[in-house]
Subunit: 504 residues, 2 copies
């Protein structure tokens, strides 16, 4: 493709994206396709000859869009949001265009340095402790990882290697294998699946401590678990606290966890994937308590900031502990400034060698919105969740399941799990809005999350009307069913009719 | 930013990228900046107020571009290429625009299914064994991972868990910890740094077996290493063969390695990060030998295909072995089709939960070029490397260090390491072309790789002239220095002059 054709194709794609967002409310948020829908429509082999961009772009509309779940739709209320914004899209396009691989400083100084700058900007915006800034003298700093999964795994692996060194130094008679076999980590049973997975992948089993009704994992619970494990001869190596758990957006008690961790030389990591954005708002200053005592922290810009996946900020109090654990050197990766400046070689802070220029989309998005724009982005989502919460409270058929937190409202239909699950099934089948459910202490509940690029009050009203209407229908059908149970002959007649229909 | 402003900004960014490529030969390939150059030019805090896109885009030109190493320049000859192309950039922009997170099928059916389709296209294009296709009944298939590092780590972790299960079943008296402590893996000492790192991260130490002058890691060497380790009570778990090693692009002997692996139940992974593209060409059919016997295989589209980072294809013979090892379930991640179809849940095949829609850029790039266009893309780079090789052979001051392989020529200045290292230093300081050196058996050599979006014969000629001219100057200065050694008084006079200059 020559440059002129690219100019045409690229600009048509820009218009395609703008059109997509301008009309996003017209689509059902969930697709109406069955497994195999796309596979069956595409050729089985790579086409031998070149195809025109016009045809390809048409196919994106015709074949791809109908098979999408529209994460950026304001009718998407599942999981947590995935951030996106126009400036982030353009910033990333520029990064794709430049296509540099910044695995060390020389491989593109701009890539490493811009990442340091935007991570410092964000740390200051969140008022994080100064030791997390690159601009503060010392071994701390921030890096962009791909995902919370990756950040947590990096923390687990680093904590593991640090624990092995520490125990080996104290008890040289133990073999490395013996030490590794006794390592254990901790997190709440409300923590994200990626934490349990990091334990499996990192061969450091994470004990998921059951929390009580408060949903909070605290030092008392950790101390108890640690004591039990020490008695068994295990070696506590890491604790992963959550700021905004996946189910209910609950916040662990970092201060009291830190006290226990310090006592036992346990690496304390905080997974603030979603709710970390609260740190930008003065109303949530209390969430900062204890953060001065953690070893590492991750926050997903691609969740609650207008930056698209993948973009997880990770801060380390002492990056040397990661570098020591991960460094593998080769002559071809060295350059003349290495070790002579305070610029980090980010390749030693992460799993892969290669690195995209992800700081560019962050920089473009941050500058386009400005600090106040970012705060308003977060506040808007909280306000809209409050609006939804009011609707739930005003309808006696529903109950809140947990306190609203940030942009998340957890609620359920009064009267048992089945009704909530059945309601969710109907909503999902109807495809107008998309939520998922979670479970705590045997109780299912629905999670309503404010998502989308530009959610409005009318979107919240739309969702609530859909929920009310589906519940009303469900309840009225239940009423009819109950009446039928009371009139068994009628039911029998209906069943026999169904049977005959089936046979035909 | 509203849609109309995005249309303007996005289109200006498209033009920016086209202009960048049209003028890429005008820039030095290496930047002229010192550490801290960008940090010192940017504000220390996130700006409070919004900024206009025009200002931001200007800053990309003014502040970012001067700090880039131009990986897409035809004067970049370091490491291996990183692929890029106009259609790939547009495909990825569309993916950013849609911003879906395809961690299970329902989360965007198009994302999972298009990935299955393009991975099958590529497997057929490479004539890989049928069991690697999704369309073949069975547990095999392909997935897009972020990088070779990630693919290798996934293989290491899966091999580790499979070995633990297998040994535990055979010797239930052993504890899991005892088994893990005895696991060992193998690769050549020519393999990429990510393999050694995967061993560290995955707690499965990889023994780097020294290869002989042929540079080939073969079954004989593996059998010897395995025998030694078995005698020590170790448990061989994985062997990672390389197709196109980082230093010299040497190819390991997969067939003979497979024989040893099968005998000892060792997982055989092939890292074909760069040279895998050779499988597209009939001339390289011999490289396919043994691939029917490997457990997993990775190839970086973002190296030798016109697809930009990150995009690593990984094929598995039996995906169940990964899924078993990695699966962590949560109620909110389930959907009604799960387990009812042959569609994979890719989240269980990889480290992170989240997934970008990376198949889109592959699909757009593949269709734009067509199969024949892709083959020609590969062939062009081989032809240009052959041209460079001829230049080296024709100049008696140089010698080839290894056989040219694909787009890589390894060579050195005759007469010791110092001359080659000094030549490289001068070339790097002069910034017109960028190469790196590698080392084998104590001998340094320079690696010339054909890179860039659209390399031409004139680019090879330019590089060669630069190399010749720098060497001529270097040699003539050495001559002068030698003469001076023979004329010590003159030298002394010069030194005394220098000293006085310094004092001033």
């Amino acid at each position: 493709m020559d440059a002129d054709t690219f100019r045409e194709f690229g600009k048509a794609a820009v218009d395609f994206i703008a059109d997509y967002y301008e009309n996003i409310r017209d689509c059902d948020v969930l697709p109406s396709v069955a497994p195999g829908y796309l596979i069956n429509q595409l050729p089985k082999e790579l086409p031998e000859n070149p195809q025109q961009w016009q045809e390809i772009l048409q196919d994106v509309s015709k074949l791809i869009v109908p098979g999408l779940t529209h994460w950026q739709s304001p009718n998407f209320h599942a999981f947590y949001p995935t951030g996106c914004s126009y400036p982030s899209i353009v910033g990333d396009m520029l990064a794709s265009g430049l296509s540099v691989i910044g695995f060390n400083w020389l491989c593109s100084p701009a890539s490493t340095e811009l990442e340091m700058v935007v991570m410092d900007w964000l740390a200051k915006f969140f008022k994080l402790p100064a030791h997390f800034l690159h601009s503060t003298k010392g071994p701390g700093g921030g890096i962009i990882q791909g995902s919370a999964s990756e950040a947590v795994l990096v923390a687990v692996m680093a904590a593991r290697e640090q624990a092995v060194r520490r125990v080996k130094a104290a008890q040289p008679e133990l073999s490395e294998g013996e030490i590794r076999a006794r390592l254990v980590g901790y997190s709440s049973d409300q923590s994200n699946s990626c934490i349990e997975k990091a334990g499996i992948l990192g061969t450091l089993p994470i004990r998921l401590v059951a929390v009580d009704d408060s949903l909070v994992f605290s030092g008392t619970q950790l101390a108890k678990a640690v004591k039990e494990d020490l008695a068994k001869g295990l070696i506590p190596a890491i604790c992963i606290a959550t700021m905004g758990a996946t189910g209910t957006c609950s916040y662990d008690d970092i201060e009291s966890l830190a006290t226990v961790c310090e006592e036992h030389n346990i690496w304390l990591h905080v997974d603030a994937a979603y709710a970390g954005c609260a740190l930008a708002l003065d109303d949530y200053a209390h969430l900062r308590q204890g953060l001065d005592r953690v070893d590492s922290l991750n926050y997903n810009l691609h969740k609650s900031m207008p930056v698209h996946f993948d973009c997880t900020a990770m801060w380390l109090r002492d990056s040397h502990k990661i570098v020591e654990s991960f460094t593998v050197e080769r002559i071809y990766l060295q350059h003349k400034y290495e070790g002579q400046s305070d610029i980090p070689e980010f390749r030693h802070w992460q799993i892969p060698l290669g690195r995209r220029f992800r700081a560019l989309k962050v920089w473009v998005a941050f500058r386009t919105l400005g600090a106040e724009g970012l705060r308003e982005y977060i506040r808007l989502r909280i306000r809209l969740a409050e609006r939804f919460e009011q609707y739930v409270l005003a309808d006696s058929r529903f109950e809140l399941f947990a306190k609203r937190a940030m942009g998340l409202v957890c609620f359920r239909v009064k009267g048992g799990n089945e009704l909530s699950t059945e309601l969710l099934k109907r909503l999902t089948d109807h495809k107008k809005i998309y939520m998922v459910q979670a479970i705590f202490q045997g109780k299912n509940f629905l999670r309503f999350v404010v998502c989308g690029v530009e959610p409005k009050e009318c979107d919240i009203d739309f969702a609530w009307q859909e929920i009310q209407s589906q519940l009303s229908q469900l309840l009225s059908e239940h009423e009819v069913a109950k009446l039928k149970v009371n009139a068994p002959e009628e039911k029998k007649a209906e069943e026999s009719h169904k049977k005959s229909v089936k046979v035909q």
